[in-house]
């Protein structure tokens, strides 16, 4: 990085540290914070969408759809997260490769041969020839699906509860005005349910932030991977030998997560205040009294 970094063994103190902290693998470590933020940025809306779909399905008047919604939420919520995170990416990867192998390969060759799972080169996902970042992105993509399915189920439950919490009188009034069920949903139910859903969703967001180290379990090179890799004792085979420093790296990650959750809390406080205004809830009532 800096011009004086060419011979690390001759450096001392701060100069050594400044070179050490700007090596290529440290840059990858800093970038991996971006991976975590990217995962959060993609997963949170996706999970909310899954949850919304699940909640609406669970309330649906069509019986199969209602069953689907109920089964989805209760099944996913009833399985330990980590089992799901291990299961979904492997199942999805092999499922997609199997589908592709039926199209691109000779269908008479089975994909399972003894203990091996083999598809022909054209059906590989991603292709062996594709560059490393495609493989990485594909891994993150599988992780996003796994996270969205799991957190979507929890979100569905929260939203389902919130929809039931909207006072019946509100919906009845809308019906009295002659709104169709869809209009009631869109104009009254959904805008009002957020204030009831927010505490549950805020909780879920916190759990989602704290679940991101599971990326490491899925083989994505996230901050935990790099902290362990960089923090481990380095012998003279490396340019920057040092003893076991995992403690400091994990401390940095700890601070990162604390900052993330602390910042989220503040943002949620603001949203909560905004959503409670004018609502027939205790918080809304307190705000009305404070204003007068």
């Amino acid at each position: 990085m800096f011009s004086y970094c060419t011979d690390p063994s001759a450096l001392q103190g701060l100069a050594w540290l400044s070179c050490y902290l700007t090596t290529g693998n440290h840059m990858l470590f800093y970038l991996s914070f971006g991976t975590v933020l990217l995962l959060l940025a993609v997963t949170a809306p996706a999970a909310l969408l899954f949850g919304f779909g699940g909640a609406l399905a669970a309330r649906s008047r069509m019986t199969p759809l209602r069953w689907f919604g109920r089964i989805y939420t209760s099944m996913v919520r009833g399985v330990p997260d980590i089992i799901f995170f291990l299961f979904v990416p492997i199942a999805l990867d092999q499922g997609l490769e199997w589908l592709r192998s039926r199209v691109y390969c000779d269908p008479s060759v089975p994909v399972r041969q003894g203990n091996e799972f083999i598809v022909c080169a054209a059906a590989k996902l991603p292709l062996s020839t594709s560059p490393e970042w495609v493989h990485q992105l594909y891994g993150i993509f599988l992780a996003v699906i796994a996270f969205s399915v799991v957190f979507g189920a929890f979100a569905a439950n929260v939203l389902h509860g919130a929809m039931n919490a909207v006072p019946r009188a509100q919906l009845e009034t809308a019906e009295a005005y002659g709104m169709s069920p869809r209009q009631v949903n869109r104009r009254i139910l959904i805008p009002q349910m957020w204030t009831y859903a927010l505490p549950g969703l805020a909780n879920l967001w916190m759990i989602l932030i704290k679940a991101t180290p599971l990326l490491f379990v899925l083989g994505v090179e996230d901050i935990v991977y790099w902290a362990r890799e960089l923090g481990g004792a380095k012998t003279r085979a490396y340019a920057y030998p040092h003893p076991d420093w995992r403690l400091y790296y994990f401390l940095a990650i700890l601070v990162f997560y604390l900052l993330m959750t602390w910042g989220s809390e503040r943002i949620f406080d603001r949203i909560r205040a905004r959503l409670s205004a004018g609502q027939a809830t205790a918080a809304g009532e307190a705000m009305r009294k404070a204003a007068t």
Binding site: A233, R236, Y238
Partner: protein, 240 residues
């Protein structure tokens, strides 16, 4: 939307490109000097240099993949990559699941490391890396075995007193012991394996033959011995 786009991109990639074969080689990246992540964040070490040379000789396109040690065989079997070069000793247990090329390193000694000379190696607590030949060996002795996912944590266990001694590949432990002021080699060295080879799927005879030919050629012209000496020192075991 993003999913659809990704899927579409993946489909487009497959249809437009021909089927040029690329061999993906997995390594652990945490086992210096065999393989490690260098300061640029890339895999480096003896096996990376050797693997690239072998691929060149066998006229294969090779790329490297990092994979944790404990899932390195299952992921080979499920075709996430095509070969393993991760200081994997050839033994009967592993031959049940995967196939090996001929060895590219002669059988290497394994050693005990402890904080003091009198450490109890027979019936004490010995730390090993999970799923290694050393772990199988300790399981057959009277000692209590503690397993860790990587070699760093094995040493950490000895330093903080969780284990009386560590047992592992001599060449991997040597730099750690020489660098440290507290760790020493104790007891006698043990020879466990049939050397280190490249792991491939049992059905992948074509790749194994190509790699075998390349390894054979490198043994023949002495370039493999030079590479071993470059990474493991002048005293390292070489081929006759």
């Amino acid at each position: 939307m993003k999913k659809i786009m990704l899927a579409a991109a993946a489909l487009a990639l497959t249809t437009s490109m021909g089927v040029a074969q690329t061999v993906r080689i997995a390594t652990e990246g945490a086992y210096p000097p065999y393989n490690f992540i260098n300061d640029q964040g890339q895999v480096a070490g003896f096996e990376v240099e050797l693997g690239n040379e072998l691929c060149q000789r066998a006229e294969l396109q090779c790329t490297w993949v990092k994979n944790d040690w404990d899932s390195i065989i299952p992921n080979l079997v499920s075709s996430n990559y095509d070969a393993i070069m991760a200081a994997m000793s050839i033994n009967e247990e592993r031959k049940q699941a995967i196939a090996f090329t001929e060895n590219y390193l002669p059988p290497a000694p394994s050693s005990y490391v402890a904080l003091e000379e009198g450490a109890n190696l027979e019936t004490g607590i010995v730390a090993v890396q999970i799923g290694t030949v050393q772990a199988s060996h300790i399981a057959d002795t009277q000692a209590t075995m503690l397993e860790y996912p990587n070699i760093d944590q094995v040493f950490a266990a000895v330093r903080n007193g969780e284990a009386d001694a560590a047992f592992g590949d001599h060449e991997v432990m040597r730099p750690f012991v020489e660098d440290s002021e507290d760790l020493i080699f104790v007891g006698e060295q043990v020879r466990l394996d049939e050397g280190i080879g490249i792991g491939v799927r049992q059905s992948d005879n074509e790749l194994r033959e190509k790699l075998n030919a390349a390894i054979g050629a490198m043994k023949q012209d002495g370039s493999l011995n030079e590479l071993i000496k470059k990474h493991f020192g002048e005293d390292a075991q070489t081929y006759e």
